[in-house]
């Protein structure tokens, strides 16, 4: 029973209380680059969930054999190998998706959330909790990405997932898309706003 509760916390904590992006401030680099549009943000989120979950499981399975002095290298090799295999599979079986992902594949390898979870969790836990931890953190990351991309695409292009949502009469009345929203700095500001809102709801996260 005790283990069950623990698994639950492992899975749900990264959604909000221990969110990798807005609490641990990891993976900000990719949060900036892929959130100009909603669609790449969702695809990136799903790929990170997959890679994070499986690399967590693999590292967890071999965690007792890894020599401490080269553990970072081993983690990196596992992540890089996994990302390449995923990308090759996509190229063969889902070519359209792989075209969309082309640049993000490299970004997944360098995503600090991956190294962070492998080092902090998978190295010390059994495969099943590690899997949950990977999926949980991936989802936590995706939630933030989708929120940021939602506002950036809506305010910057007037579209969502490529569909026009701001009605034409707005434009005729003088409304103009905010081109600044598409540029990377605005992603930082949107993330900062999310952190602000999040912390005002979660008082225990506030530093004195």
């Amino acid at each position: 029973m005790a283990e069950k509760i623990k698994n639950k916390t492992v899975f749900f904590n990264p959604f909000s209380k221990n969110n990798p992006v807005i609490v641990q401030i990891l993976g900000i680099c990719s949060a900036l680059s892929v959130t100009a549009k909603l669609e790449p943000a969702i695809v990136m989120g799903l790929s990170v969930i997959a890679v994070l979950a499986f690399s967590n499981v693999i590292i967890s399975l071999i965690r007792n054999t890894i020599p401490t002095s080269i553990r970072i290298i081993v983690q990196l090799v596992v992540v890089a190998g996994l990302v390449i295999i995923v990308s090759e599979l996509l190229k063969a079986y889902a070519y359209d998706v792989s075209l969309q992902l082309s640049v993000f594949i490299g970004l997944i390898i360098t995503n600090c959330i991956l190294m962070g979870r492998l080092e902090a969790f998978a190295m010390a836990n059994r495969p099943w909790p590690s899997f949950l931890d990977g999926v949980g953190n991936g989802v936590g990351y995706t939630i933030i990405l989708v929120i940021v991309a939602f506002f950036r695409e809506l305010l910057g292009c007037g579209t969502l997932l490529g569909f026009q949502v701001v009605p034409n009469c707005f434009y005729q009345a003088g409304y103009v898309n905010n081109g600044l929203m598409i540029l990377p700095p605005m992603a930082l500001i949107v993330v900062a706003c999310i952190i602000w809102v999040h912390r005002s709801y979660n008082k225990d996260l506030q530093e004195n």
């Binding site: 020599p67 401490t68 080269i70 090759e88 063969a92 070519y95 540029l183």
Partner: protein
């Protein structure tokens, strides 16, 4: 066995590298054919898109039906031997103009009209950009254009793939007073000084827009003799 010893570490690395290497090599080898197939189908899809046609599910059959001829020419406009579809434009572009193999695709549309499709390749902001330009049988009027990119910024440079950008090219002229003067991409509200036809670039995607402009200029120049020979027919 001592897991912190050097011997263990070295053996561990060797095994890991071999296992990962074999896994990657096996994946790459076993998926190679499918991937090449997908790449070829995607190329066909892009060529068909430049003709303002919607690519169908069975793109190979559609390609075979629409594209009636494909061949290579040299910079003197003479036909040379070789497989036009297999030519890698990215490699050709690095050669001096006189040595390039220049692919040309001829298409017959449903209404019987003849179109010439010229592939183009250049550099955007982050990586390569490429496209296909379909010309009417006067070898000057652009019938349709299709552009694609590898890693331009979504919402900015990446907008060159959108119809809103590429449809601007329709009806523009590649020749002015008998001289090849490729269509330019300029900032909205401006016009090129040499009198060429032009389209509006993408705001926020200046480097990519300039890349498209330079790509059209660079890639059409070697075709000059070939296009002139069609015009003189």
């Amino acid at each position: 066995m001592n897991k912190q010893s050097n011997v263990y570490t070295v053996i561990y690395i060797i095994i890991m590298v071999v296992v990962v290497g074999v896994a990657l090599a096996f994946t790459a080898m076993s998926l190679k054919d499918r991937q090449n197939d997908n790449v070829a189908a995607d190329k066909m899809r892009q060529i068909i898109s430049s003709l303002r046609l919607a690519p169908q599910q069975d793109v190979k059959a559609q390609f075979a039906q629409v594209i009636t001829d494909q061949y290579l020419v040299n910079s003197q406009g003479e036909r040379i031997d070789g497989d036009a579809f297999a030519v890698n434009i990215a490699n050709e572009i690095k050669k001096p103009a006189a040595e390039r193999q220049l692919p040309v695709y001829e298409a017959h549309l449903a209404d019987g009209s003849l179109k010439y499709i010229i592939p183009v390749y250049g550099a955007g902001l982050w990586g390569p950009i490429w496209g296909y330009v379909a010309l009417d049988d006067d070898a000057s009027t652009i019938y349709g254009a299709f552009f694609n990119h590898e890693g331009e910024t979504p919402g900015l440079g990446a907008e060159i793939t959108k119809d809103a950008f590429s449809s601007q090219f329709q009806g523009k002229q590649m020749f002015k007073n008998g001289e090849l003067l490729p269509v330019a991409v300029v900032k909205a509200g401006q016009a090129p000084t040499n009198g060429a036809d032009y389209v509006d670039g993408i705001s926020g995607g200046t480097i990519t827009s300039k890349g498209v402009s330079a790509m059209l200029a660079d890639c059409f120049a070697p075709y000059n003799a070939f296009l002139q020979s069609i015009r003189n027919k």
